[in-house]
Symmetry: C2
DNA sequence: ATATATATGCGACTAAGTCGCAACTAGCAC
DNA sequence: GTGCTAGTTGCGACTTAGTCGCATATATAT
């Protein structure tokens, strides 16, 4: 498991005003076991603070994103146009989305870090966010498709 | 300039039925000088075939995307939630989006190709699409910000 | 020329996200 | 603790992007 930021702690350090709603949302994201979209986060956050509103969720997600505390993902639009959110991890990682079964895998490799450095150097670019998403077929689905075709 | 697919030719080869509307849209994408969203593509395609409808644009983009002829981009949502489209190039490339000035740069490097192979091998994954987007500040904007801060 | 599977336009619809504004409150000063 | 105030929230109406069903039209094979 990749080491994740402690959002609540970091928010406090960054001088982000901690309202009950923000706490509820931040804790929800922090404890999430999968990638959740804004609507799901809203529903879950409401279990902690029933008063939280949709607009607040969007505004807070935007804030955390700008502060580099969370990442926004598309997961190759396997399920419509929603966006998904996850706590930023120490090391950058990429997401593999299987078009066959919908499974999402995460992956890290030093090559990714190397690529990042190369991008920054060769383009004189100061990187704040990096999003690498891959779509295709996982081993099982590829095999299954092969069987059908052959 | 990266070598791009010849969409019209490829569509014919793939047995895609070439209607006037599809021709209009495909030519529009092929000749586009920047990354265009669905609505812009619609407006431009209408100059070639005034009858083309929004739904047809979306349906055709979806088709071309599934066939691997075009790529869909977010460009880090610099301008809202739209998606942008571009003709698939021979070599994979990534997009750098500057949060300061909104400039979009493209970049290729063998490391990216290497990463792609590594992803496929180490995860036993058959890659169909790969999208790498980077957000941050270009050299100029980073310097300007530095000046303001210092 | 005809048949037919496929594509299109229309228009109404859904989903995701945004915004202005009055009311509320976290965190600070005292 | 009390009060102050800039920052935050809820509300509800709105925008924007994209989807869908169905009657009509048409590209392609024969």
């Amino acid at each position: 498991m990749l080491k994740r930021h402690d959002l609540l702690h970091e928010a406090a350090q960054q001088g982000i005003r901690l309202t009950a709603q923000r706490r509820a949302l931040i804790e929800t994201i922090q404890e999430a076991k999968s990638h959740l979209d804004a609507e799901s986060l809203l529903q879950l956050a409401r279990k902690r603070d029933p008063n939280i509103d949709r607009a607040t969720v969007y505004r807070t997600l935007e804030l955390l994103k700008r502060r580099g505390m969370i990442d926004e993902l598309d997961l190759m639009h396997l399920n419509g146009e929603k966006h998904y959110y996850e706590v930023k991890t120490q090391k950058d990682h990429l997401h593999l989305a299987c078009f066959g079964c919908g499974k999402i895998e995460e992956f890290t490799t030093p090559t990714f870090e190397k690529l990042k450095r190369e991008i920054a150097e060769k383009n004189d670019f100061s990187i704040q966010v990096m999003r690498l998403e891959v779509g295709g077929l996982c081993g099982q689905c590829a095999a299954r498709k092969e069987a059908l075709a052959g």
